[in-house]
Symmetry: C2
């Protein structure tokens, strides 16, 4: 380890006790299954090979664009600079290697910090592709794919978020000149939060209220050139800039933009669906909005898969670190090394297990949920293409509810894992603080997770109304199935019963089908109670029952997660042919199910699925399961096969070199390379040696 001018450590020192690498090796020997087989089961061989290939490419790139090692020491401007460099390099490599969209997404997820081109790559290109005519695609898509134009997607305004109908920006059609005039009537009309707009974008898809002959026709997308690609100056009438620092995502230049009567040609209105006749100004509305729902489902499927990966990554860090970290000797049966008590691995504390092992189980649960969402998307799109819109409502409802549930739980999981790492979780070297701050927008964007669930519950209420009116006529679906089962129980159908009588010992909590029934029953019961508030004699206003609606959506989504996890245990032939995998997966399922049921205990008791005795049994069962899963914890996170490059954590490295990693992080700190005068008489701090290069540490 090199000695810096003001900071150093002696080279010969090693961590005390058993090295982290040995501890991880011991943990890995406990595996009751083949981690490589598990990884292949989760992702498929092809994906894993591609991942390894891309990681090798990025880590051997010599431009420095993919180097994460200095990120934590940089200020916002420098971070933006590095993220821009990274995004440019991805564009170059994509061209060189002929990467498709999926590969680019894969690379972006490995690089971790999002940059100024991410919205260009996702929203800008997608919107033109979906909403533009062939001619518009030729004009706008081709230069954008070549990165000659950089685009952004300008919808949100300073005063208007989720409520798109409330947008203030107007696009008034001028028949004389065949132009649309874009205008911002007030300060709150300013576009805001627009990724890539702050400094990078040359073009924007602008969502604006279309006005023709004084008639407001709702928000429509327009392509607006905003900056001269050569001089980088905004075009006349456009005020634009970066909105300033955020909780996270410093690499993105989220921007604002105001229009002062900015004119674009008629051609710039994306007119695949809604059209304006250039001469008469006659407006033709879009045929149907089914495709919009398709896109939304696809985006949300991506968010749910993202939530799964968030859980995987956080719990990889927490499990590995807690397997290496030791704290306090066992109270009842201390062990000794000579006269010195050996401290317990933190992962052996049941209170630590109770915090992080359910997250481990949930990562597997969300894996199946995200697979289900992509399948749902596929079959929904297939239907739409056949003109069959019957799956649309169910798909939209489930994707909204799952987006809300998974993002809220993923954000919480990062923080739970960070805290489980104790003091060192607070170090940026743990990787979790940045990760958390960058993840947070997921809870709010693509529909605020607390409000979005209304989309789910609206469908649930409607479904139950339909079933009550016409039990036979309602088509089968996940939702109508569990609701029918609920009515069956209410009507005394013994076959349908999902009651406490089936569970008398913790050993009775073993059957995936019981959990499917129980979660469905509780969801249906909540919907029934809420429907009574809305349609019953009290005729409660929608607003007054929002907390109840939120609970319905949450219960429905939890039931979906349980259902899809259980289905895999029961029917996945790929899993059932591998008994070692299946055994540990069953335990993970039961942990997820008992833990979730316990957390929602009051509702499960209230609806009669369990009683206080069963509530206690859930706790016993989940503790038993955690004791069984504990020895498998390191192999189970190893199975996620996340590269050290992605995990990017001194605490969660697969090598187990926790303390060496923390020291590397310390020695690179720039304030270690300068002198700081603490003399109270001089108010200005004196720096003598402010060397620009960071001290290079070798361990």
């Amino acid at each position: 380890m090199t000695h810096g001018r003001y900071a150093s450590i002696p080279e010969h020192l090693k961590p005390a006790g058993t090295p982290g690498s040995t501890l991880l090796a011991i943990e890995r020997k406990k595996a009751s299954f083949d981690t490589k087989q598990m990884s292949e089961y989760l992702y498929g061989k092809e994906y894993l090979e591609k991942d390894a290939e891309l990681v090798a490419l990025l880590t051997s790139d010599t431009t420095g664009a993919f180097d994460k090692s200095n990120w934590n020491y940089l200020g916002r401007t420098e971070k933006f600079r590095l993220a821009l460099k990274k995004d440019k390099r991805i564009a170059q490599l994509a061209r060189e290697h002929g990467w498709d969209r999926e590969t680019i997404n894969h690379v972006e997820s490995l690089c971790d910090f999002m940059g100024p081109f991410s919205v260009h790559r996702s929203m800008y290109l997608t919107t033109i592709d979906n909403m533009g005519t062939e001619e518009q695609k030729e004009t706008f898509l081709v230069p954008a794919l070549r990165y000659e134009n950089i685009g952004c997607y300008a919808q949100t305004e300073l005063g208007h978020g989720s409520n798109v109908q409330g947008l203030e920006t107007t696009a008034t059609y001028d028949k004389e000149t065949r132009e649309f005039v874009l205008h911002s009537p007030s300060m709150t009309a300013s576009k805001w939060w627009i990724g890539g707009l702050g400094r990078s974008a040359t073009h924007a898809v602008v969502m604006a209220q279309l006005i023709i002959d004084g008639k407001r026709l709702g928000p429509h997308p327009f392509i607006v050139p905003i900056r001269d690609p050569e001089t980088r100056k905004p075009f006349p009438g456009i005020s634009v800039g970066d909105i300033g620092p955020k909780a996270g995502l410093p690499g993105i230049d989220n921007g604002y933009m105001l229009f002062d009567h900015v004119r674009v040609p008629h051609f710039n209105q994306l007119s695949r669906f809604a059209k304006v006749d250039p001469e008469t100004g006659k407006y033709t509305p879009p045929a149907n909005s089914a495709l919009t729902y398709g896109t939304m489902t696809y985006v949300r499927a991506g968010i749910v898969r993202g939530a799964r990966t968030v859980l995987m990554r956080s719990v990889t860090v927490a499990v590995r670190y807690c397997a290496i970290r030791r704290q306090f000797a066992d109270r009842d049966a201390p062990k000794f090394e000579g006269s010195k008590p050996i401290e317990t691995q933190v992962l052996d504390y049941t209170m630590v297990q109770a915090r992080i092992l359910p997250i481990l189980a949930k990562a597997y649960a969300f894996h199946y949920t995200s697979k289900y969402m992509y399948e749902l998307y596929e079959s929904c799109m297939e239907g739409i293409n056949r003109g069959d819109l019957s799956l649309l409502a169910e798909t939209h409802a489930s994707s909204s509810g799952l987006k809300a549930l998974c993002t809220i739980e993923a954000a919480e999981a990062i923080e739970t894992c960070r805290r489980a790492c104790g003091g060192h979780g607070f170090s940026a070297a743990s990787g979790l603080p940045n990760f958390y701050n960058d993840y947070l927008p997921n809870v709010t964007w693509e529909g605020d997770s607390y409000m979005l669930s209304q989309q789910t519950s609206r469908h649930l209420l409607k479904q139950m109304r339909d079933l009550k009116r016409d039990p036979e006529g309602t088509p089968r679906s996940f939702t109508s199935d569990y609701m029918r089962h609920y009515f069956g129980v209410a009507n005394g159908d013994e076959n349908a019963a999902a009651t406490r009588h089936e569970v008398n010992y913790s050993g009775d909590l073993h059957d995936p089908v019981w959990f499917i029934k129980a979660f469905g029953y509780r969801a249906a019961w909540l919907v029934d109670q809420t429907l009574e508030l809305r349609d019953g004699p009290s005729k409660r206003s929608w607003n007054s029952i929002l907390p109840e609606l939120y609970r319905c959506a949450k219960a429905h989504s939890q039931a979906l997660v349980i259902y899809n996890f259980a289905k895999a245990i029961l029917n996945d032939s790929n899993l059932n042919s591998k008994p070692a995998l299946r055994t540990v997966m069953q335990q993970l399922f039961l942990l997820h199910a008992t833990h979730t049921m316990q957390q929602e205990g009051a509702e499960f008791i209230s609806c009669g699925v369990i009683g206080p005795k069963q509530y206690q049994l859930l706790s016993n069962k989940s503790q038993e399961l955690m004791a069984s899963i504990r020895p498998q914890a390191v192999p189970l996170v190893d199975s996620f096969a996340l590269s050290d490059y992605l995990v990017n954590s001194a605490l969660g490295s697969s090598k187990g070199d926790v303390y060496e990693g923390l020291f590397r992080h310390a020695l690179n700190e720039p304030i270690n390379s300068s002198r700081w005068d603490v003399n109270v008489e001089d108010l200005e701090t004196l720096e003598i040696d402010d060397s620009p290069a960071l001290a290079k540490a070798k361990l």
Copy 2:
């Protein structure tokens, strides 16, 4: 508003609709009580006057040391520089104005970002004061109070946090030279996380394992000079530096330190309690550790008061912003302004109320809890001084549990409030992201909140054992009182009953005494269940019941919070003489009590205090209460009397200029003052005009 070179907005634009200032004025007119009277009731006139005086002094200081407006744009090094300047300026002003410790703490809390001298001011000075002899105080305290020395408190090591007994650093007594030899035997022995050590400190209190004649005598404090105050170079044998970036607290130089046989004179062992005879090396252990518990209680009382202020500040931001922000028209009864639907104030959504109004109530609850903790500390210290240690166990147990409960809930509250601010909550301008990240260490330090609660439950188990053995002999205390009541119910004492039979309508949920009984009953029931696991036939190991122990501690602490809030409602003559304050405070109490009981519903149902029907009534009642409190929300946060300087949020300013504030934050962003070349061919980003001065925005 001035136009920057690359960013500007048109000067004439105003936010659409009713201005924020008007909306807040309307809200303030709804007050059912006098906010000034409420503030005086909470803090006393004297405190409020002092606060106003100090805010005026800091905001008019011309050195720039207290200017928060650029903080968000600075990198870590610049933040450290500004924090150092601020701490120096506080030292100068303290000298000039003769400030006492309390005033300095007050100033630090207003300044918000902690700096490199905070540990010097708290832990270093306090430790010497408490543990040093008169001669040692003369030698070490005098220059430290003059800031000629800057000290830190070096206890935690890289491999050792909460377990002080496990520290590796040794201090071996050398009788020949009458010196202690400090040494770090391994890498994990490195001092770590030490505030002020990274670059600032000249001295450290070092906790090290005392070794005399080969005998290990446990950790003891030593004063070690670490850097030459003139050259700032570490003394020989000392490796020291900053540990690098963290999730928050960038203004503090948390440091590491390793010793290679560093010698300090015998005099440097702080020897008020534990002594080493200089000649013989004979060791005299400290008389008793009662005082340590006193200090810990005092520190924890401060943490609980801090948690209260955290709740106040977060909810001030969320309530004010949600009163100004509008989103979507009402679904059932839309209102119109001409043909345009008027959007609803976000604060009117019951789902938003359900998230932030319980935090408002909790801020008041924690206010009384923190008062109680200071009283507890006083009476405990009084007892210790009289030689009466009977209060010690109860005080230690309660302060540990409350520290855990309050810090976890305060951290969660910041994030809940941030999310309630929607997208703009993610902007650094909201003030909440930094605030959250800086607050997080409170959950971990001074005893990890998840492990610390063992201190509480150990006492609870012991207390119940004592009571079962000798119901009459156990002295009265908060804990033994609620446990006796629990046994009374179990033995069929009708007077003691706290059962569901008393609550049949939501209107029955009105009596503070019922809630005191109910929370106490549930805590006692949990302790009884847990005691059965530990002492009963299953003889469960301590480790295996940690989750149950955690629940006991949480229930006990929640019962304490309820008890102290209820006591104020019932007995506080100062409150009872002001009916307007008392009325709203009763509602806040009931909201806090019903909301908390609902959250812990499964346990309350399990122990029989309520049934599923009452669980539903709790939900109805808390919704009724939120509807009543909603019009008082802005006046209630105004009553916290937090200065705009402290709140430091564009969203939470008392003036209501939300959108203007967000624009100011945008125009100051440094990346708006330079040109960014996005040309993909050039990998290095080009900056043409990287002016060092930030663009100055005027609105």
